[in-house]
């Protein structure tokens, strides 16, 4: 009798586990707002009866997580989903370990919800293998209007106007640019200038196709000269400075402006500052129509059990549904990747960002960010960043730097 009871119990458990699966999710969203944002997805999945196994690896901007992921994949035991973005999705696709999400995509009409540029990043050989989570805009300029008022300067919309404004701020005894001297931050300013000075077509040639001719062109020389001009308006303590410390300089009114992605907004919000009153967020000079995007996404690995596959597909579906898109992006400070959501759910910079996201996806000015690993393979990104940071921190001429950039990119291919 007892044995029968156990058998029934076991069967029941089996039946239960056949419908409810488990997802193991590798990510590095561990800081306060980010962890809360991920928690939303966990709750939604648990509501559908699945279990969520958190596999958070903190540190190194995801480098540590990637090392763990590689060793798990080599051992043949990858998690259900992992936070991987941009062209690296293709590298994982090449390894043949990713699952096909086309059935979910079709049922949920992903092709009409996502801009084509974004959908292409998520596909490997025409099939969806990854799900986008959010959109960050890179080409922002964060302005402290009080500093501009004190210096009698106008918020610039071109790089020439920037120089005039920066000189006035300098003359008023303040630091024009809050600069963080780390290679990725320098690359962020660099690509913003590539878009602003060179235009969208040049940006695509140089930063997406990594065309050596575009990299070693007179336009690039001009871009690099502008970059040096901007850098010269930074203070002496800039090398090695973290981005949030540079943001703090703008918040405290020590510096006039900072070029940084929209995660900088979190610092202003945390300091209790109001948009359009205490700080102004505008597109960086010359990039008003352009939208350099950084999109976080989850790649989905092939899983063995049917129940787990069901849970995995549920996760993919939930990520792009409005509920998660709303709560996640409100917490993270980014904007939804799902088009057509109500802008009123988000704050002022978020609304502007959503408007520009939709407009740029129509006009073709929606382009992936090089500095944030969306445009080129990590090896090429590294090669470009090496040259940019070396150019900024030495007295190398812009012409030599452009030539070296073309060479370095070819060597890294």
């Amino acid at each position: 009798m007892k044995r029968l009871a156990i058998a029934v119990l076991l069967l029941g458990l089996l039946a239960f586990s056949a419908t409810a699966g488990e997802v193991e999710v590798l990510h590095w969203w561990t800081s306060g707002g980010e962890a809360a944002a991920v928690g939303v997805l966990k709750q939604l999945l648990e509501k559908e009866g699945h279990t969520w196994k958190d596999f958070a690896v903190a540190g190194g901007g995801g480098d540590n997580a990637m090392t763990v992921l590689k060793s798990r994949a080599v051992a043949g035991n990858p998690p259900t989903a992992a936070q991987v973005k941009g062209p690296q999705i293709q590298l994982w696709g090449d390894e043949g370990v990713l699952t096909n999400l086309d059935d979910v995509a079709k049922a949920e009409k992903w092709d009409s919800l996502l801009p084509k540029v974004v959908a292409d990043v998520m596909k490997y050989q025409g099939r969806y293998v990854a799900v986008p989570v959010n959109v960050h805009r890179i080409n922002w300029m964060w302005v402290n209007p009080a500093v501009f008022k004190k210096a009698g300067a106008k918020i610039p919309t071109t790089w020439a106007e920037f120089e005039t404004a920066a000189k006035k701020i300098q003359a008023a005894g303040l630091i024009p640019v809050g600069w963080g001297g780390q290679p990725w931050q320098e690359a962020t300013v660099f690509e913003t200038i590539v878009a602003g000075e060179g235009g969208t077509d040049f940006y695509k040639q140089a930063m997406i196709e990594a065309d050596p001719e575009a990299l070693n062109s007179t336009t690039m020389v001009k871009v690099l000269e502008t970059l040096r001009m901007v850098k010269n308006f930074a203070d002496k303590g800039a090398p090695g400075r973290d981005w949030n410390l540079a943001t703090a300089m703008v918040i405290k009114g020590e510096a006039g402006m900072q070029f940084m992605g929209d995660w900088a907004k979190g610092e202003f919000v945390a300091a209790g500052k109001k948009p359009d009153v205490d700080y102004v967020a505008v597109a960086a000079p010359g990039t008003a129509r352009q939208f350099l995007f950084n999109i976080d996404s989850f790649i989905m690995f092939k899983v063995k059990s049917a129940a787990n596959e069901k849970a995995q597909k549920a996760m993919a579906r939930l990520i792009l549904q409005s509920e998660f898109q709303k709560v996640f992006n409100q917490n993270k400070g980014s904007i939804p990747v799902r088009m057509g959501m109500d802008p009123k759910l988000f704050d002022i910079p978020g609304q502007l960002s959503m408007k520009d996201f939709a407009a740029s996806s129509k006009s073709g000015d929606l382009v992936p960010s090089m500095a944030h690993e969306m445009a080129v393979m990590p090896a090429i990104r590294g090669a470009i960043m090496d040259v940019v940071t070396n150019f900024i921190n030495s007295d190398m001429s812009a012409r030599d730097a452009a030539e070296q950039m073309a060479n370095a990119v070819q060597a890294a291919m």
Binding site: E95, P183, G240, A379, G382, N393, S394
Partner: protein
Amino acid sequence: MSETRTRGPRTGGLEGILPRLVLAPTFVAILVFVYGFIAWTAWISLTGSRLLPNYKFAGFAQYLTLFTREPRWWVAILNLFIFSSLFIAFCIALGLILAVLLDQRVRAEGFFRTIYLYPMALSFIVTGAAWKWILNPDLGLERLVQQLGFSGFTFRWLVDSKMAIYTVVLAAVWQSAGFVLALFLAGLRGIDDSIIKAAQVDGASLPRIYWRIIIPSLRPVFLSSVIILSHIAIKSFDLVIVLTRGGPGYATDMPATFMYAFAFNRGRLAFGAASAMVMFLAVMALIIPYLYSELKGTRNA
């Protein structure tokens, strides 16, 4: 070994096997995890591996790219050369001078010894963080001196790409000189007093005794210091990461930080492995002659 010594008890089977049994796991572990992975890295460096390892032979292409098309590698090599030569020279000079001074039977020697050895107790991470703040022009020395009234004072090595490598030397010497001091002090204490007394009877001055007798007899200590310091120098990674992050730009990049960046951040595993092999060969070039002379020495003794 003397010929007359018996070869251990042959009768007790367990007793004969036991030492080997006890040593076997360590031996196997070293074989796999040290030599096995050295071989694996060597093999990877000869492939075209990018994000994940693959085992298709691709020749010496990675080495060729490393030495002919990667300016950053040469910066790393030059930095290693500047860093290790200055680091070893200053550590030994400072360590020796301090040891000789401490050897003069000063009062409270234990107190001074502790002070000089103390930096050794800190990890390179702590040393790096402390010096990063000391050398930062906005927070540290420059600001302090300017606040004292010397407004023209500037000290910006940390943020100057030409001088930044010397700040790494400064922090590393501060950390390791005490250790060299301890080595030399032990060496000095090991020298037979009667030799020195004999020299004094012969009328030799103290500096002359040190220069002609004591320092030459410290030769083995010099050798071990150089070996220990140079492998610290070649492996230097944490100090650079904390103090400068390889910056400004990549001005203070070292082969170890270079390898990490390319193998793990940029998905160029084979390229990183090639740079690791070059580092490995550099260490071997130092260690093998040393081991050879040591082993030869014991065989002759």
